[in-house]
């Protein structure tokens, strides 16, 4: 039964993924891609990776999908195809792509027989941190340097998006106003959902230390609520130059860096936690990160600032 489910899921993944590649209409492709993302999070569940599944659903499918829907909506009129590729070229590309796929697939049969795993070492050292979720342990204890850098990547992505504002629009409000008119259903949702989402996000962040979940998932939920509010026009997005907004953006990274430097003092290594304080510090960090991630994700989706009176 489970195998049958897996086979159907794998085939669906391939089929839906392939559809999104070859779909003629861009909006179709994007919607199919979102569906693909949801299927993929199912696959992650089947691979016993609940944390990844949640992230995939939230970021890989949700946030990415939203961005692409917005983009597809705006560029729907594009028809120009400057490079006309010949049939032979298509065939060649297909052959090469197939070769790559076959090569990778073949590796399944020749991967060194003994599966390697760091599960045991992770579990062995997890108690030092007081965390219960081994994935969170890897993210915030063993490889927290990666996680710190990933936050810098997010900041930089925000910089990259803001870089694309027009000079005259700088300092203005991100332009995520899909519906200029008040939309009743949306408005209702935007008023009722956020409190629930807020509580849920707090829970996810809090729980992330011990069970699947964490700052990212929590942050995404918060961001989703915020975007809902902005899209519905209930609240305007803040100006990008607003000090409060900037503070929210950097709180997470600052706390992270501070705790990292604290490690220099005690116990004497960057990003090492003082004995016994690991869990509270990590939870504090996660809370700060949840806020920053929520704001950054929201701003990334909202796009570069637009002028006040831009349509």
């Amino acid at each position: 039964m489970e195998t049958a489910f897996d086979i159907v899921l794998a085939l669906l993944l391939l089929g839906v993924g392939g559809w999104s590649v070859i779909a003629r209409n861009m909006m179709t492709a994007v919607i199919v891609f979102i569906a693909y993302g949801l299927l993929l999070s199912l696959a992650w569940v089947r691979l016993h990776a609940i944390d990844v599944s949640l992230t995939e659903a939230a970021i890989g499918s949700g946030a990415t999908g939203l961005l692409m829907v917005i983009a597809a909506h705006k560029v729907a009129g594009d028809t120009k195809r400057v490079v006309q590729l010949s049939r032979g070229f298509h065939a060649l590309a297909a052959v090469f792509a197939a070769l790559v796929a076959i090569g990778i697939a073949a590796l399944a049969f020749v991967l060194p027989g003994e599966p390697v795993s760091l599960a045991a070492p992770v579990l062995a050292r997890l108690p030092e941190s007081g965390l219960g979720n081994p994935v969170a342990g890897v993210l915030f204890v063993f490889r927290s340097f990666d996680t710190l850098l990933e936050k810098v990547v997010l900041l930089l992505a925000l910089t990259g998006v803001w870089a694309l504002a027009r000079d005259e629009d700088w300092g203005g409000v991100p332009g995520l106003r899909l519906f200029p008119e008040r939309h009743s259903v949306l408005g209702l949702l935007a008023r009722t959902l956020p409190p629930i989402g807020f509580v849920f996000a707090i829970y996810m962040t809090w729980a992330g230390a011990d069970v699947p979940g964490g700052a990212f998932q929590g942050g995404t939920v918060l961001a989703a609520m915020w975007i809902l509010v902005m899209v519905a026009g209930v609240r305007k997005a803040p100006r990008v130059s607003s000090p409060l907004l900037r503070l929210a953006i950097v709180t997470g990274p600052v706390v992270f860096l501070l705790i990292g430097f604290l490690g220099f003092l005690t116990p004497g290594a960057f990003l090492a936690y003082p004995e016994g304080f690991a869990k509270p510090l990590i939870v504090a960090m996660e809370i700060a990160l949840t806020l920053s991630i929520a704001v950054i994700l929201g701003l990334l989706i909202a796009g570069p600032p637009k002028g006040e009176d831009a349509p």
């Binding site: 020749v110 927290s144 990666d146 910089t159 990259g160 953006i249 990274p253």
Partner: protein, 502 residues
């Protein structure tokens, strides 16, 4: 033990914390920059870069003093669980070079990206300075990290920092170039990522020296090596994967182009050298390495000829980067795993000399090209006339960089090409030797073409603006370093081999 393979270091050494500071302090400055809303941006940047220079020089001095690499175990968690940073001779060298060039570029951009009076920040200043800091931080990460996934985050960080710089001017051409750059670079990093996925699957570690110790030449490893290499080739813009480089580098502001061309492409190149000499030393088989050298040779020839045919100065300089990158790929075939120590070391020194000399020469040249465009109001090569009388220092800077790119002595470019040639001819790689020589001749042709135009009389009706002396001296200073490197003796440099077996 293979020649030039890194020696493993597992414990934090004295001074190892400097490596963390070299990466993190610029990140702190970056966070501060965003948080403070552009207040005091330039002061923060200069302070951070000065600090980075200090750290880099300290690292270099300590590496030279102890004749052994510095290492730092982040968080006290050893690989394979945690991440270590490690600086050997080449890391220390590149850290110093990068800090110096970043400072030069920042000083050059000082006026261009000033905060407007009365406003807290402008878009350009916030974006440029943030991206600059991020590039500096990411490069140091690439130079010192020894964890393959950490390095993946590093190359992505570098790309995401480079994109805003390439796109900051905002015209359609620039945006198109930046988008190309981003898409192609992400393609490359996905291939790289898959390579390390396979490596993890096969060995359960991502630590460079840990991997090297247990490496088996099985199918998974060979495939991984292929993916990692090709992914990084895309990021390094080796011909024919250079589609994004010329428009992106030509479209950025001068200081940005300088950093992009001088350092950013070297980030992934550094990683590629690191991988082939430290992670996969046993896989360095002639067939594949010849393939890399072949791409390198094509880059040299095609890049140079295309540069010769350009009508815009910045594009010419960018294509010259495409060509110059090619030389660095000869090291893979000229320092084979069974080479004698002397030849391997000669090729090794030649390649790193090329990396550094090109960095300084290209930074100087892009700054000079930017100033030329500012003086003339355009950068059409045909109409460069009059520059020599209006801004002779700019012409001098261009000429000095050109000297190094042509590979005429005394210059770092000559030392590099001479040593690569010695290695090529000693091992009977006649074709690569011929390419190295032909590349120099072609570079001579395009540099001379530009210089002759710069020295000509101004075109009728041209109005020439004056530019500040300070920025001219910065361009000149960077170019002069490339030339002064020619004073180094023409023999293997021991510093570059610190931390590796010979």
């Amino acid at each position: 033990m293979m020649p030039l393979q890194a020696l493993a270091v597992t414990e934090t050494t004295p001074g190892g914390a400097l490596l963390v500071l070299g990466i993190v302090m610029t990140a702190v400055a970056l966070v501060g920059l965003i948080g403070l809303g552009g207040r005091g941006a330039r002061a923060i940047v200069i302070a951070a870069l000065l600090f980075q220079l200090y750290v880099s020089v300290r690292v270099a001095l300590m590496v030279a003093g102890t004749q052994s690499p510095l290492a730092y175990v982040v968080g006290g968690f050893h690989p394979p669980l945690g991440i270590t940073l490690r600086a050997d001779g080449i890391s220390a060298l590149m850290m110093v070079v990068s800090a110096a060039i970043f400072l030069g570029a920042a000083a050059f951009a000082w006026k261009d990206f000033a905060q407007p009076k009365g406003k807290p920040e402008s878009r350009a200043s916030l974006i440029f300075w943030t991206a600059l800091l991020a590039m500096a931080s990411a490069l140091n990460l690439l130079f010192t990290s020894s964890d393959l996934f950490n390095l993946y985050v590093g190359i992505e960080l570098l790309t995401f920092a480079a994109i805003p710089v390439a796109a900051i001017k905002g015209g359609a051409d620039t945006l198109r170039a930046a988008l190309r750059y981003l898409l192609f670079a992400v393609f490359g990093s996905m291939l790289y990522l898959f390579g390390i996925v396979l490596l993890y699957g096969a060995y359960g570690t991502l630590d460079i020296s840990g991997l090297a110790a247990q490496l088996q030449p099985n199918a998974a490893t060979l495939t991984a090596a292929g993916f990692v290499t090709v992914g990084l080739l895309a990021k390094t813009a080796l011909f024919p994967f250079h589609l994004w480089l010329p428009p992106a580098h030509a479209g950025a502001p001068a200081a940005g182009s300088a950093v992009l061309s001088a350092l950013v492409v070297k980030g992934s190149l550094f990683l590629l050298m690191r991988l082939w000499f430290d992670t996969f030393p046993t896989l360095r088989e002639p067939a594949d390495m010849q393939l890399l050298a072949l791409f390198g040779a094509l880059a040299v020839i095609v890049g140079s000829i295309t540069a010769l045919r350009q009508q815009r100065l910045k594009l010419l300089v960018a294509y010259s980067t495409v060509a110059q990158i090619g030389y660095m790929f000869f090291v893979f075939t000229l320092a084979p795993k069974d080479a004698g120590a002397l030849i391997a070391e000669t090729a090794w020194t030649g390649a790193w000399t090329q990396v550094v000399a090109h960095a300084f020469a290209k930074a100087g040249m892009f700054l000079a090209a930017g100033l030329a465009a500012e003086v003339l109001g355009h950068d059409r090569i045909r109409d460069l006339g009059g520059l020599s009388s209006r801004a002779p220092l700019v012409v001098l800077a261009f000429a000095l960089s050109g000297l190094s790119l042509m590979g005429l002595p005394p210059s770092g470019g000559f030392n590099a090409k001479f040593m690569l040639l010695v290695a090529a001819l000693a091992e009977g790689h006649w074709a690569w030797g011929a390419v190295i020589i032909a590349g120099g001749m072609l570079a001579g042709a395009y540099v001379f073409g530009v210089l002759a135009r710069m020295m000509a009389e101004p075109a009728a009706g041209a109005s020439l603006k004056a530019v500040g002396h300070g920025r001219q001296w910065i361009a000149l200073g960077l170019s002069a370093v490339a030339v002064l490197m020619g004073l180094l003796p023409l023999e293997p440099i021991a510093f570059l081999a610190i931390g590796r077996a010979l």
